[in-house]
């Protein structure tokens, strides 16, 4: 669907970067790359070729980041608004699950690769990028530390909704964040996200000790 959009986004990024085509028109290279991406992969297991398609936010961020640039303000607003609209709050109004289950979801890194089977519960991959509880020393640094997340922020309504939204679709708050859209992309279930909410916000969670 998004070739048009991609090209437009690329074009605007180019203007921003002031980078005229050193090797002919840049859009040719972009188009060429799209084509090369498509023919260089083969589907395997649950990973079909449609995973290679970019939606507007991914296309826009890819094009901007290549030049080390931020998104154009109007593009940013548009894609963040669009992502904000995808966020669904829990139907029963309860946001907080079980922090113990949350910890094990945060530890888990499996799911959605071509070597995983469909239907198995996915891990949250949280420790891959974040410090969370103090006890786990094997944590990544791609994202900020979440240690004492709830203790520092409290558990007011706004914090709860923001945290849920960030888990559900982080691109609603920061278009080109590295964080996956756990709810929007169907990586985690509503119950799993509630458990992660508890890990971050429950006063009894080791995160807030």
């Amino acid at each position: 669907m998004s070739k048009k959009i991609v090209l437009t986004a690329v074009a605007s990024a180019l203007v921003l970067a002031g980078c005229a085509g050193q090797y002919g028109a840049m859009s040719d290279l972009d188009q060429m790359t799209q084509g090369i991406v498509k023919v260089s992969f083969q589907e395997k297991g649950i990973a079909k070729l449609d995973r290679l398609n970019q939606d507007e936010v991914n296309a826009a961020c890819s094009a901007a980041e290549m030049f080390g640039k931020d998104l154009d303000a109007s593009v940013r607003k548009r894609v963040e608004d669009a992502n904000m609209k995808t966020i669904k709050f829990p139907a029963d109004g309860k946001f907080i699950g079980d922090w113990k289950r949350g910890e094990s979801i945060a530890q888990g890194g499996r799911g959605m690769t071509y070597s995983d089977s469909a239907g198995s519960a996915n891990g949250g991959n949280c420790y891959n990028c974040h410090q969370i509880s103090k006890a786990e020393i094997s944590y990544g640094t791609l994202g900020p530390s979440l240690y004492q997340y709830g203790k520092l922020r409290g558990d007011g309504d706004a914090v709860i909704k923001y945290t849920w939204g960030k888990l559900y679709n982080a691109k609603a708050y920061n278009a080109c964040t590295n964080m996956p859209r756990f709810g929007h992309a169907g990586i985690l279930t509503e119950v799993q996200m509630k458990d992660l909410m508890a890990l971050l916000l429950d006063p009894n969670s080791p995160v807030n000790k």
């Binding site: 083969q42 995973r51 290679l52 970019q54 959605m112 791609l142 979440l146 922020r153 996956p180 992309a185």
Partner: protein
Amino acid sequence: MRKQIVRSVFLAAGLGLMAGGALAQKTETEKGIDRYRELIADGNPAELWEMQGQELWKKKAGPNQVSLEKCDLGLGAGVVKGAFVSLPRYFADTGKVMDLEGRLAHCMKTIQGIEPKVSTYNRDDHKNIVALVTWIAAESKGMPVNVPQNHPEEKRVYEVGKRAFFYRAGPYDFACATCHAEDNKRIRLQGLPNLLKKEPAGSAYTSWPAYRVSNGELWPMNKRLEDCFRQQRFPELKFSSELSVALSMYMGVNGNGVASLAPTIKR
């Protein structure tokens, strides 16, 4: 409306936290792991593959019953030393930019008359490619990376590689750049090289082929890239595909000048 509120909460509560974790001090854990890596580097089982590779290079094989010793890896027929650090490159005989693994498959075909089956890691003829690559890489140990940007095709492939590096997609929205475009980042305890910078790009590029401690396998660059994409939740990358070659070219050129390490040992 909601967004507004949320934003301000984020700014008030979030920023203070962000600063702390980002500092790039080596923790005791990281120092311990450096020591671990030092200890396992001595006695790298990759040497077992090197031995095999050297034998295979000289061994007569295929319908033509000739060795690979006349194979041109870019520096002239039979020249092995320095070949690893100057690939991928443009080959006039095929009119294409090729990587080491692809070029070896080409030589098996044109010189030995084999119809090489090299699409599955460590199966069929790819098993031999893995051993050959390990030996050929070892022959360039310590030499500076020197991936060419002379031919227009080499320049084009670099530009494609750059775009591919930043290409976000898949259910996690990941690109290569998600993990490899900043200094001093980690996944869990695993350091992530910033592939936009010379030193880390050159070291990373020449860290493969590597012996993988976790599974006792020898991984050449194509397998390394393919597994990165697997973890990006992409479909399966084809070995020596245009994209694979382009990403190798991008990494190699970014790392030009850095002394080659391969074969290495990795967790």
